[in-house]
């Protein structure tokens, strides 16, 4: 079996599956249950200065798919609402009892050096393996100048990271907010400040839905609501892109990345790792299913690695980074055309109407003698956009077939149609 153990920014863990800083890691009770279930590590829910934060009720809301599966979750919870002393005591004990697991402590204190200088030694004394700076929380704490209010200003990110590196010997992971326009600016700032790693993404500002009877957004507190932080499967594509942006940025190349955002299966994890992550963090999937999901994640990842001949995570970590590039470097001459497997086709007409109404009129609807319809791709019209394949409900019915057009590689930089092309 493949070796799932990792050493991430100097932190060892038996597997790459960590629980993200969130309700599942709020106290010893939960964390011990997580370790019993087999999680490789946890990032303890964010500690702050006393007095502890106070939370409202209710706190979560969801965006549902057609079968009521949760596509995304939204929360308006703040950092821990327990005292610093209790948290530190529990962290010390848990680390002592579970020495082989990664225990990282998330921190958020005001943006002044004294505040960080005061809390860091306390955390270091617990025996924790590292700290994660919560520069991402987009609700509540940001109104008080913390969380994403720091993460959205690269200078602040750099400055606080440097304070932490100065006043603490533990590895420092900087957790980034996605509520910015260019994630690389924040990552570069963390890197300049001396961060040992970055983790991303934190949650995205969101309102999941509106109660149209009461005319108030969800989750409801009294007769009001506020925006929360969005997480779960729906944010995975956004997270993957931001991870890739950092992984392929020359300024931050090699900076360890802990991937977060909609990870619920071994495949999700493998995708984040392929785009450059050294560990992954999970929250929503565990909140919806319990800690036991780590069993299937570990088993699935390890079997897939075996099937690919990967002995350790390093063998494939970052393997997809080199193949992720700017649009201008894509091969303009590459061409695919849709091909419908008529044996598999069930005649729903979805490909036809999608292409006919909204794309390239490249799928003909041919009425048959028995009243049914046969759908055929008009090769000359097909631009290979994938839309028909996406809307087709049948697995493997529409294949995008690579065309041998005899043309060699040509990117936009060298395309004669580009007025700004690089002339050889």
């Amino acid at each position: 079996m493949a070796d799932l153990s990792i050493q991430f920014a100097g932190i060892k863990a038996p597997n790459p599956f960590w629980l993200a800083s969130a309700p599942p890691t709020d106290k010893a009770y939960n964390v011990v249950r997580a370790f019993e279930a087999g999680w490789g590590g946890v990032v303890w829910k964010t500690l702050g200065e006393d007095p502890a934060a106070v939370n409202v009720s209710s706190r979560y809301s969801a965006h549902y798919g057609v079968n009521r599966e949760v596509m995304g979750m939204n929360n308006i919870e703040l950092i821990t609402d327990r005292s610093l002393e209790i948290n530190l005591r529990e962290i010390t004990q848990v680390k002592k009892d579970w020495p082989d697991r990664a225990l990282v402590v998330s921190l958020m204190v005001p943006c002044v050096e004294e505040a960080w200088k005061a809390i860091l030694p306390l955390v270091e004394a617990t025996g924790a393996d590292g700290i994660e700076l919560n520069f991402g929380c987009p609700h509540g704490m940001s109104e008080r100048g913390m969380g994403s209010a720091v993460g959205q200003v690269p200078e602040y990110v750099e400055r606080v990271t440097r304070w932490c590196k100065t006043h603490c010997s533990l590895p420092v992971i900087v957790k980034l907010t996605p509520n910015i326009t260019d994630i690389r600016q924040s990552a570069r700032a963390a890197h300049r400040g001396g961060a040992d790693a970055v983790s991303l993404i934190n949650t995205i500002n969101s309102i999941t839905s509106v109660d149209l009877e009461r005319m108030v957004a969800l989750p409801i507190v009294g007769n009001q609501s506020t925006h929360g932080g969005y997480c779960g499967p729906a944010v995975k594509p956004i997270a993957l892109n931001m991870v890739a942006e950092i992984a392929r940025d020359p300024e931050t190349r090699g900076l360890p990345i802990s991937g977060i955002g909609g990870i619920g299966s071994w495949r999700d994890a493998a995708e984040f790792i392929a785009l450059g992550c050294g560990s992954v963090q999970v929250c929503t999937a565990a909140m919806l299913n319990g800690f036991r999901i780590v069993e299937e994640m570990k088993d699935g990842l390890s079997r897939w690695m075996d099937s690919q001949g990967y002995k350790s995570l390093q063998d494939f970590s970052g393997r997809a980074v080199g193949n992720t590039t700017d649009w201008k470097y894509l091969d303009i001459n590459y061409q695919v055309i849709a091909k419908i497997d008529q044996q598999a086709c069930i005649g729903c007409g979805r490909c036809h109407i999608a292409c006919e109404d909204t794309a390239h009129q490249a799928i003909a609807s041919l009425k048959q003698a028995d009243g049914s319809h046969r759908y055929e791709v008009i090769d000359a019209e097909c631009v290979g956009c994938n839309l028909c394949q996406i809307t087709c409900p049948v697995q493997d019915c529409i294949e995008m077939v690579v065309q041998d057009n005899g043309k060699g590689f040509l990117d936009w930089e060298h395309d004669p149609r580009n007025p700004y092309a690089v002339r050889a």
Binding site: V66, N67, R68, I346, G347, C348, G349, R350, H352, I353, S365, G371, S372, H373, P393, V394, Q395
Partner: protein, 455 residues
């Protein structure tokens, strides 16, 4: 009650057990089930299910409305194509119509969207403050409809919608036709047929005159004179006979007659129970008869058919219902003789086995006897000729025994239309009759309005 079965005992079960035996065959979907099931619809374009629906309901649209919690919208979509959508949702053989056409039957899933159940859900749960259709301004035209079955009711509603006044002449005490008198009790529970008629009549402009029978106290000649147009939805009122000795002996009965009694019975414990019985036939009526007798408590129910399972008119789904009720389906045997006891009552039937010789059904010569307290004939319905007995009615062109109509549902006599089972057009199904009624109403409306414009 039923004279020819008066000598039989009554069901052993008490009223509560019997009521349970005749409760909803397919219980309705709850909100969550409906939402899940509606999410399975692929919203096909040129949807095969719509092609397969005789009444052309926009199925993908109403299912999408259900999924988006717009139940009223879903119901209106259904009713605008099929005003009897509620009973069709319950009695349609969806397994050979919309659900057979559903693309979800493909090999990866082998399970269609439950279109019938979703249609029922929409109509059961839509909560209209007022009738969802408004009549057009009165045209002053009057149309006579003969028969308050699905065809007649559908025709009347659509005519009323267009502003015409309609008088329905109905032989029976209640409107609804086969929905009221001819469908297995567990398929249409809680007096649904009457509730649906009440809903339909809410549109206004429709008067039903009960106890009036064409050919008895009504003639086509006078109807054509008194009204601007006539629609005939006569159905098939006669039950086919075996043409065999002792066919009227006590213990012999047409299945439709028994089903009618059962449907109208307030107290099921008072019905006759044929503990051992034979049902002759292979259509859905034969199945309805056999299953209902089994549910009354009969322990030995044999359904006998002269050909094979694959030739049965009853769908596989119907055959499964029979099997689940412990009905024995016997094939390749035809009646040879009614067997009577010394009091002249049915004691059984002798059958001869059949087979195909060069494609022709022949007796093999082998015979066997089945003991039975009663024999129910469900070998098909026939057109009752006595309805067309006046000079004008006799002029109607016929298509075999049935009334000939063109694509507009017009008969050979101008201004006289017909639809439903009394015509040979399409299948003998409730949903087909509804469609005929609707199309005939549109044709009548077009004709009447054309005359108005010309004048």
């Amino acid at each position: 009650m039923i004279e020819s079965l008066n000598h039989l005992p009554h069901p052993r079960d008490n009223a509560a057990t019997l009521a349970d035996n005749f409760s909803d065959l397919a219980p309705p979907l709850n909100d969550r089930q409906a939402r899940l099931e509606s999410s399975r619809c692929l919203y096909c374009y040129d949807a095969p299910c719509v092609n397969a629906c005789p009444s052309e309901i926009d199925i993908p649209s109403f299912i999408r409305n259900i999924h988006q919690e717009n139940i009223q919208g879903a119901a209106q979509t259904i009713l605008s194509a099929n005003i009897l959508g509620g009973s069709c949702a319950r009695v349609c053989p969806t397994e050979v119509l919309c659900q057979q056409a559903c693309v979800r039957n493909h090999h990866q899933e082998c399970a269609p969207v439950l279109i019938g159940q979703l249609q029922r859900y929409a109509l059961d749960n839509a909560n209209f403050d007022a009738h969802p259709f408004q009549r057009a301004a009165a045209t002053g035209k009057r149309v006579a409809v003969v028969g308050a079955g699905p065809a007649g009711l559908s025709c009347a509603h659509r005519l009323a919608l267009h502003g015409h006044d309609v008088v329905i002449f109905e032989r029976c005490e209640k409107a609804g036709g086969l929905n009221e008198y001819g469908i297995a009790k567990y398929k249409l529970v809680d007096d649904f047929a009457q509730r649906e008629v009440d809903f339909l009549l809410q549109i206004g402009g429709i008067e039903i005159r009960h106890g009036r029978t064409l050919g008895v106290d009504l003639t086509l000649t006078e109807l054509r004179q008194q009204f601007d147009a006539v629609f005939l939805g006569l159905g098939l009122a006669a039950s086919r006979q075996l043409g065999m000795a002792d066919e009227t002996a006590p213990g012999m009965l047409a299945a439709t007659q028994f089903i009618r009694e059962l449907r109208q019975a307030d107290d099921l414990t008072k019905l006759p129970l044929a503990d051992r019985c034979i049902v002759l036939g292979a259509g859905n009526t034969a199945i309805d008869m056999a299953v209902q007798m089994a549910r009354l408590g009969a322990r030995d129910v044999n359904l006998v058919y002269r050909r094979g399972h694959e030739d049965m008119g009853a769908t596989l789904h119907e055959q499964d219902i029979a099997k689940a009720a412990q009905v024995r389906l016997m094939t390749w045997a035809q009646p040879q003789q009614v067997l009577l006891d010394d009091q002249g009552r049915v004691r059984g039937m002798r059958f001869e086995r059949t087979h195909l010789v060069n494609g022709r059904l022949c007796a093999t010569g082998e015979t066997f006897e089945l003991a039975a307290d009663a024999i129910f004939k469900a070998i098909g319905q026939a057109f009752d000729d006595s309805a067309l007995d006046d000079p004008m009615a006799r002029e109607l062109q016929r298509d075999g025994e049935r009334i000939q109509v063109d694509g507009q549902l017009q008969t050979s006599i101008a201004g006289v239309y017909a639809g439903g089972d009394c015509t040979a057009l399409g299948q003998d199904l409730t949903v087909q009759a509804v469609q005929h009624g609707k199309l005939a109403a549109e044709a009548i409306h077009a004709q009447l309005m054309l005359n108005v414009e010309a004048a």
